[in-house]
Symmetry: D2
Subunit: 136 residues, 4 copies
């Protein structure tokens, strides 16, 4: 069981009303839940600035599977980087295009370098990295 | 076989030199590959602004698996939204935390609404949506 | 005098501790102030998605003042767009380069279109738009 | 006079066609101009990751001018930071709200710290930092 704290927030009534409407629209059932998410997001953005922090990353990419042997290249690339690939999800989008999501673990700097290297491979049309963490 | 076009670019020599160093560091083997990636990224950013465009999204989220029955909730949520969940990848991070990546397909606006609804569920600590496309 | 509301937030003690350290480092003197800023930022991001909302924008750009007559072009451009230019700040950076910040007012969609048009002028090396609002 | 280089790009015809439509809509008169802007933007994003690089920043902020003596606080703050404030633009938005744009110069890390400190002052409702450079 985690320890829960409670504290008070003072805020302009007009601003609070707008926030309540906004989070209801997004699907939140209460303010604390919405505020905890804002706080975690803020901390994660801060944490990502430090290349030596441990992170988890997901690299979403679109590629043409007729181009080269990506799987083999990915294996080669891993040997040159210190970020670990935990798992890969593959979705067949159409005759030419695949979506692949690679889950990476390691220091933020190493994850970013590995993502750069993968993204720059011939055949990868678009690659976008998301960094997150389980420590928050 | 796709049709390939070729065109010329004029650019300040100093700027080109910096770009060559930058893309080499990122791992690109030639300028055309790097420029095609920049062009596609630019087009995807533009395309995402239109909620009626067809997109593919990946929602990366961290959650505490001791909280509620997320799988059932996800099924319920899908019935209320018009974006489709193609696949879900689950990674056990530690005793409490799971990473889950959901691949979504549909109109950009619907994907964003579905991502908002999932992100706002109790127990989801962090959720980040990436939008991409196979049409570029 | 604005009406002030007060409400309670429940949060994991560990997360609150991290947040306290983070906002102290950023310079906040209390949690309410930091949370109000997070709430406003969240609302502004949401508001920017609607091209019909009234916004204020600042376009930061770097350009080589030896290129063309930008001031005249800006006047021409304004006639074709429905966003208003409130003021322009000019800073001499070095022999070639100027920094200019244009403050724009109008519907978000019109501000973005006007910023695109200015950014794409020959001589503008980099342009970045910030959208904000006084209604929050 | 700057030295100009010329090089060839090969690209899928379908992708080039989409790019041409996109940049025409944005207002570009030719591809080279649009590509140079994409290249500079890419380099600036890279450069911003290094806190020791020299940058120019603009901090856009909205505040209620009835709150405290911001001008004096800004002077105090400058003494504790090594980023320089080049100029400040002030726009009266309505009875309560002012828009202020501060142009900053110095190492990226120092600019970011100074922006954090200003943003966290009581009365500042929203602050957004843009980083750019004249060296590209």
């Amino acid at each position: 069981m985690e320890n829960i704290s409670r504290f008070g927030v003072s805020i302009e009534s007009k601003l609070l009303k707008k926030f309540d409407i906004h989070i209801k629209k997004e699907g939140y059932s209460n303010r604390s839940e919405a505020l905890r998410d804002l706080i975690r997001k803020d901390l994660i953005i801060e944490q990502q600035k430090d290349p030596n922090e441990e992170s988890i990353g997901t690299l979403t990419m679109i590629y043409d599977h007729h181009t080269g042997n990506l799987t083999n290249k990915l294996l080669d690339i891993q040997h040159d980087h210190n970020a670990e690939i935990l798992t890969t999800t593959h979705v067949h989008i159409d005759h030419h295009n695949c979506l692949e999501v690679i889950v990476l673990k390691g220091k933020t700097g190493n994850i970013q370098r590995l993502a750069d290297t993968i993204r720059s491979l011939k055949g990868i049309k678009h690659g976008e990295l998301v960094l997150t963490t389980s420590t928050i």
